[in-house]
Assembly symmetry: C2
Homo-oligomer: 311 residues x 2
């Protein structure tokens, strides 16, 4: 079976939205990615670091879903990465209240020997040098997918450029794509990013969906229109986890199959925002995912009659 | 052949964008609607008013495309409605520099006898009482489509509510849908608007596409991702013209066919923004439209394998 290596934070989050607030709950990019990818029953490993304060029950919740944690370092006398934030009323913007890197500050990822031959690598948002180190440890990955954010553009531009030059897929949100390329048009921005290295670029537009670019081709996946977004935390990482989980499971890296992967990622992200944190992902099953994929199909599929053939 | 009645402004526009500026050029909601609908070779009439300053060549440009102008009143000693605006660098917002209503201030639409049996009525953005007067003159229209804007919500709420209660389809942009319903979620906003009367609601999100709502069903049409938006003026009206032109031509008002109509409207709008004003619509042909419809299909269509059937 093909394998998926997931690198990213495993963390505590405290979240406040107009609908309520949480204490410290399970969070982190690698957590969301792993939970989403586990829907496809792939052989995945999370490479990350936590402190001695990280509850065993959280580790068990990941293990029980088949996620290998042998490369999840536990620093007994350290503290787990902690983020807290508060969403504004429109749910499209948020203020970060706290960022405590803790053990993540000295994270040096080590890929276990039996995962160095993984087909797919998902590099969650982390310092570009950490991401580079992971790439160097892999034997012959078929697909390296990179996520990043504006912080690294502002502080570690050269290192980020190095990572970008070595990956197959870059996922990035619309504002960050504009910042990275200094282009307003997302079509032009994607073309510029492809020149930096990746053959595929995914531009995430939040509630407005996501665009997949490859050479001259473009595919668009909408976000599911929802009556209520309860908590957007982790939606982007869930999207990435569904995308890479699907690719790992199918082993097909064609543009056509990437479209299906994007739709699977969007479907899982649409679940993620329905409850606080990763709560909804933890109660999900394949039947519910299947029904949601059908909703995406109903939402987007249409017939065009040839105008020239019209009576 | 089924007929389409188009009510709206026929005007002069002067436009400034980051790419350049125009003198007074052909503009107005009914103009864009008519030019878009004419792509489908339907029997349409524009009901509107202009001044003696409106050039004969503009009238000829509409007539030559099969648009009936017998209900386009020409006030010899009056001046044509004039709007001028300047777009900001992101092309998503604009400042209105001038609005001179002129002859439009006293517009009393009269539907010609041989168009009172039209199947489809497109009410372009105008005073709600003008829109109501048109509805009252029609015999038994199958589909009345309403466009409006925030100005009428602010100044003529009761009259607007009366119009909304009498139409089959309401098209409205996202911010205006939120203002009308005081709901942030577009899904909830659409549900509320449907309770006001229309069986169908189209929420236009500009560069983020459009949503079609009917009972519990939702359809999403993306905007075509473009390298460059040259001038957004008239895109919404072009969309409405493509939508109603397609419905008139096919005579099929099912939800399934509405999807195709929305895609046709989006395709025509994607042309409109490529040049100043209505310039691009004037040089368009069916083959170009056909190619663009195929682009929309490529952009949105995908296969989903049943996850449960995966190896």
């Amino acid at each position: 079976m093909s394998k998926l290596v997931i690198v990213g934070s495993v963390a505590f989050d405290a979240i406040e939205t107009p609908f309520g607030k949480t204490d410290k709950i399970l969070g982190g990019a690698a957590t969301y990615i792993g939970l989403a990818a586990s829907q496809f029953g792939v052989d995945s490993a999370i490479v990350s670091i936590v402190g001695g304060d990280f509850p065993t029950e959280y580790l068990d919740m990941l293990k029980i879903r088949g996620i290998d944690l042998s490369a999840l370092e536990v620093v007994k006398d350290g503290k787990t990465f902690f983020w807290s934030g508060k969403y504004h009323n429109d749910m499209n913007s948020r203020d970060t209240l706290t960022t405590e890197l803790n053990v993540l500050a000295d994270f040096e990822p080590v890929i276990p020997e039996h995962y160095r031959d993984a087909a797919v690598v998902m590099l969650g948002n982390l310092h570009p040098l950490v991401q580079l180190s992971v790439i160097e440890q892999m034997k012959a990955p078929k697909m390296i997918v990179l996520d990043t954010m504006n912080f690294w553009m502002n502080h570690t531009w050269d290192e980020l450029m190095q990572v970008i030059s070595k990956v197959n897929v870059m996922t990035i949100n619309d504002e960050e794509a504009r910042q990275l390329t200094k282009e307003y048009s997302l079509v032009v921005a994607a073309q510029k990013i492809m020149k930096m290295g990746p053959e595929f670029v995914v531009i995430k537009k939040g509630e407005h969906g996501a665009l997949l670019f490859h050479k001259e081709d473009i595919f668009f996946a909408p976000a599911l229109p929802l009556e209520e977004v309860f908590d957007p935390t982790g939606a982007g990482d869930t999207f990435a986890g569904g995308f890479t989980g699907y690719l790992t499971k199918t082993g097909d890296f064609s543009f056509e199959n990437m479209k299906s992967a994007i739709i699977n990622g969007s479907a899982l992200a649409s679940f993620c925002v329905e409850k606080f944190g990763a709560e909804k992902l933890l109660e999900l099953n394949r039947e519910a995912l299947q029904r949601r994929l059908q909703q995406f199909k109903n939402l987007t599929q249409f017939n065009i009659e040839l105008v020239s053939n019209m009576p």
